[in-house]
Amino acid sequence: MDRNVIICRCQEVTYGEILDAIADGATTVDGVKKRTRAGMGLCQGKTCQRRVQQIIASQTGQKPEDVLPATYRVPVRPIRMGVIGGNKDE
C-alpha cells in the first residue's frame, strides 16, 4: 500500500505514519494511537481501528487475536459535556 493512503480518516493519519510508529516501537493499538492520534477523532477508531490492528499484526508478526483494540473509556459516544456537567450551554 502507498505510504500516503489515509488509514485514520478523522485525524488524517497515513499508512506511512503508522509504519513509522511501529518502527518507533509501537506494538499495540494504544501505542500507535499515542504516537499518531490514529483513533482519537470523532469516530473514536470505529473506522480505522481494525485496519490499525491488521497493520500491527502484519508488521510485528503478532497473531491477529493478540492485537487487542485500544482501551475503551466512557463515554463511548460523543456527548456534550454541558449535559453531564449540568449547564448545557457551556
Binding site: 493512503v5 481494525r50 483494540p69 475503551y72 466512557v74 456527548i79 449535559v83 453531564i84
Partner: protein, 372 residues
C-alpha cells in the same frame, strides 16, 4: 441527575433488542430499551427485500414489515422504549449512564442486555477519503430510509449479500451500478441475489479490487485492477471506470465497546468479525447479569439476531424468577433450535461451529476462574 431503577435494561432497539424486550416484558419484567437513533428498528427498516428461511422466521415478509410487527409487539408488551438515548457507559456492572436529548440520568438494572449491533468495515485506498466513498449500509440508509440517491454511477466493492442487495436497491432507485468488484475468486452472497444483478447486465468482477478513487473534490472515477492468486495486482490490468460513488460492502464487525467497558471477557473468532464477547448458552457474558444478543455477539444476520434477542429476553426472565424453570427451559430450547436451523446449510454451518467455539471459550474461561 435523576436515577432510575428497572429490572431489565436493553441497549439497542434493533432486531435483537426489540425481541429481547418483547420476551422479557411479556414474562412480566419491567423493561427499558434505549436506542441512540430517532427511530427504532435498527437495520430492519432499511430492508425492503423479503426475508429468507422458514415461516417461523418470517420468511417472505419484507424487513420493514417485520420491523413494524416488532414495534407493535413491543408496544403491547409494555416495554418502555427510549429513543434519541445514548448509553455512554456501564458502571459497577449494573448501571447505565444515559443521555436522552438534553437529559442525563442513570439506570440501575438487575439485568442488562447489550444489543448494540455491528458497524461496517473500512477499506483504505488512495482517494478513499474523497466524498462519494461510503459504506454500503450508509448508501442503503440514504436510498431506503431517507429516499436520497447517493449518486448516479456506482461501483460496489464486495459481493456478499450486503453488496448484492444494496446494488440491486440502488438500481431500483435509479442509479447505474457500473460494476461489483470482489477480491475473492468467487461471489460471496446468495446465488439468487447475484443472478438478479447479472441478469440486469451488471458485471461482477471477481479477483478484482479498487486501487484508487480519483477526482478533484469528489469521486469522478475508480482505478480497478485484477488480482492474482496471491492477491497481488496483475500488472497492466488496471482500468479506469468513471463513477461518482464507491460503496464499500466489505463486512461488519461487532459494536462491542460497552461490553469491553463492562469487563466482559472476549474471544477471537474471525468469521464472526474478530474479538467477540464470550457467552454461555443463555447469552450471559462472563460478567454476571450482563447478556449480549445480535451482531454484538458476532456478526450474522437479522433472523439470527431476532432469535438471539428472544433467547436473551427469556433468559433474563428466567434468571429473575418470572418463569417457572421447566417452562422457561422449554421456551429457551425452542429458540436455540430455531437458531440451529438458521445456522445450517452451505452458508450457516461455519457460523454454527463458530458460535459453538464461543460458548466453549466461555466454559473454559469459567473453569479456569473456578480453579483459581
Amino acid at each position: 441527575m435523576k436515577n432510575f431503577e428497572t429490572e431489565v435494561a436493553i441497549i439497542g432497539a434493533g432486531s435483537a433488542g426489540l425481541c429481547a424486550g418483547i420476551q422479557a416484558a411479556n414474562a412480566g419484567a419491567k423493561v427499558m430499551i434505549f436506542d441512540e437513533n430517532h427511530l427504532p428498528g435498527g437495520q430492519l427498516f432499511k430492508q425492503i427485500h423479503k426475508f429468507f428461511g422458514s415461516r417461523e422466521h418470517r420468511a417472505g415478509i419484507r424487513g420493514y414489515e417485520i420491523g413494524k410487527q416488532l414495534l407493535d409487539e413491543v408496544e403491547k408488551s409494555g416495554a418502555d422504549v427510549h429513543l434519541n438515548s445514548v448509553v455512554y457507559g456501564i458502571f459497577d456492572g449494573n448501571t447505565l449512564g444515559v443521555v436522552e436529548g438534553d437529559n442525563h440520568y442513570s439506570v440501575k438494572a438487575k439485568k442488562i442486555i447489550i444489543a448494540s449491533g455491528g458497524k461496517e468495515n473500512y477499506l483504505p485506498f488512495k482517494g478513499s477519503t474523497l466524498p462519494g466513498v461510503m459504506g454500503a449500509g450508509a448508501a442503503q440508509t440514504m436510498v431506503n430510509v431517507n429516499r436520497v440517491l447517493p449518486g448516479k454511477e456506482v461501483i460496489m466493492v464486495g459481493s456478499g449479500n450486503v453488496g448484492l442487495i444494496v446494488s440491486y436497491q440502488l438500481m431500483q432507485a435509479g442509479a447505474n451500478v457500473k460494476a461489483i468488484v470482489e477480491a475473492a475468486p468467487s461471489i460471496g452472497g446468495y446465488g439468487v441475489h447475484a443472478s438478479k444483478i447479472c441478469r440486469a447486465g451488471v458485471p461482477i468482477k471477481v479477483r478484482h479490487t479498487v486501487l484508487e478513487a480519483y477526482g478533484e473534490n469528489e469521486v469522478e472515477g475508480a482505478v480497478v485492477a485484477e488480482l492474482d492468486e496471491n492477491w497481488n495486482v496483475v500488472p497492466g490490468s488496471e482500468q479506469n471506470i468513471a463513477c461518482d460513488t464507491i460503496c464499500l460492502a466489505v463486512g461488519l464487525n461487532p459494536m462491542s465497546e460497552l461490553a469491553y467497558i463492562a469487563g466482559c471477557e472476549m474471544t477471537y473468532i474471525p468469521l464472526l468479525g474478530g474479538h467477540v464477547p464470550m457467552h454461555d448458552e443463555n447469552l450471559e457474558t462472563t460478567v454476571p447479569g450482563i447478556y449480549v444478543a445480535g451482531d454484538v455477539t458476532g456478526v450474522e444476520e437479522a433472523s439470527t439476531a431476532m432469535e438471539e434477542g428472544n433467547l436473551a429476553g427469556i433468559s433474563v426472565a428466567r434468571a429473575l424468577g418470572l418463569i417457572n424453570d421447566e417452562e422457561g427451559k422449554e421456551i429457551a430450547d425452542n429458540f436455540r433450535n430455531r437458531m440451529l436451523n438458521l445456522r445450517s446449510g452451505a452458508f450457516g454451518e461455519g457460523r454454527r461451529i463458530a458460535k459453538a467455539t464461543q460458548v466453549e471459550a466461555f466454559n473454559e474461561f469459567q473453569a479456569k476462574e473456578g480453579a483459581k
